[in-house]
Amino acid sequence: MEIKTFTVADLQLALLSEDFWLTKTLPITKQRALSFCQNPRAEKNDPVLLVAYQDARVVGYLGILPDKIFFNNADHKLGWLTGWWVDPSIATNGTGVILLYKALNTYRERIGVSGGSREARKVLDASQKFIALNPLKGIDIRFRFNATKTMLRKFSSMKIFRVGFKVADVLLDEIVNLRSFSWERRNSIRQRLTFEYVSTVDEETGRFIEQHYHHDLTRKGKADLNWIMTCPWIVSAPQKDAASKRYYFSSVSARYYYLGVKVYAQNNEMVGFLLLNVRDDRMSVAYAHFEGRHAPTIAAAAVYHALAMDVSTLVLYDERLVKSVAGLHCPCWSTQSISRGFFLSKAFADIPMADCRLHGGDGDFAFY
């Protein structure tokens, strides 16, 4: 077995080559590779992809997302592990272990992990190289009942009642629409707030973010958020393409986009910025910047946009927004507590986490 390390520069060359994309299993999609190459926090010689080959066959891979974290008045480089896969037919030949230690060695044990499968967490625990940060506690707000999806997922034998479920959904959606209309009027969102939508972060927003990101662990600024918004890993497409069938992780979705929302109060003062990520019928707030006193207003703006964009679920991880949602009495069917786990290698054991804030989009979460 051979492990090849691809730096940003190597990946740029791979994008131009034909051979790299001929393997039966792809270690990365072109879309993702392009994004890796545009990462403003990556340097040309940063390793970003480890690929295990056996007889010219891809049998494992691990992506690494170079980033910086900020604490103790300094920035510290690290790599977030992302897209870690090993061919299940060779699960006992140590490929996953080699990839993990290769990443740790390459980044001088300065590695972060956001989320990850149960198997991946087991491996991280076993290595004794990582500390788990306090999980980011969030909330799933469900606006649509979606009986068809819920029932058929639980009881596939009830497919014959599909039409009945669909009719029920249409009726239930009408109830939600009425409740939403009344909620909007009650909260007079459009009277109290105005919005400006941006597909990239403009100067005003960049300055606004810089005023509010001092407690952020990753301090994502204008260039970073522009990169996320303009170089997604997932493409909106009606169906899976040839490449996505050869790549284990997500690469296409029926609906996928980012939207920057600048929130203004009546006096034209900018009071918040939301980076929204919409994937199919789910909207999540990847990054949110505002002053604490405006939390209820910004939470209302997030709910308002979820309703306007007709998504089934809104996902929030900002602690202040989560707290504010309860007071909004939003027109939802249910809410559910959720959490996101973050791990950092022990080289970062001295981070004063009480002073550091994580966002829902940190690590590689902004791209899913």
Partner: protein
Amino acid sequence: MAMNDKITQMLFNVLDELNQLRPREEHLKKDLGTPLAGGSGRLDSAGLINLIVLTEQKTAQELGSPILLTDDRTMSQINEVFRTLGSLADYIHLLLNEKRHG
């Protein structure tokens, strides 16, 4: 006790601890021929990492000499080093010898 015997005993102690983390039917036999990783191996990624970590710890504790089993050199020959308990013992012997002779 000869170094080979000390290494073997240390690895048997590693297996005792490793087996405590595994279901009874997946216990590894205390035998130098026991396959670990590779084609006939029984350790998945988490199992192999547990073995590596325990071996590094026990080598330092019981043989008084810390070794590193996670460097690029070891990783590049992982299937040879961790093929059986015996091949792991040989590799530890090699590393200890290299340390002794500078």
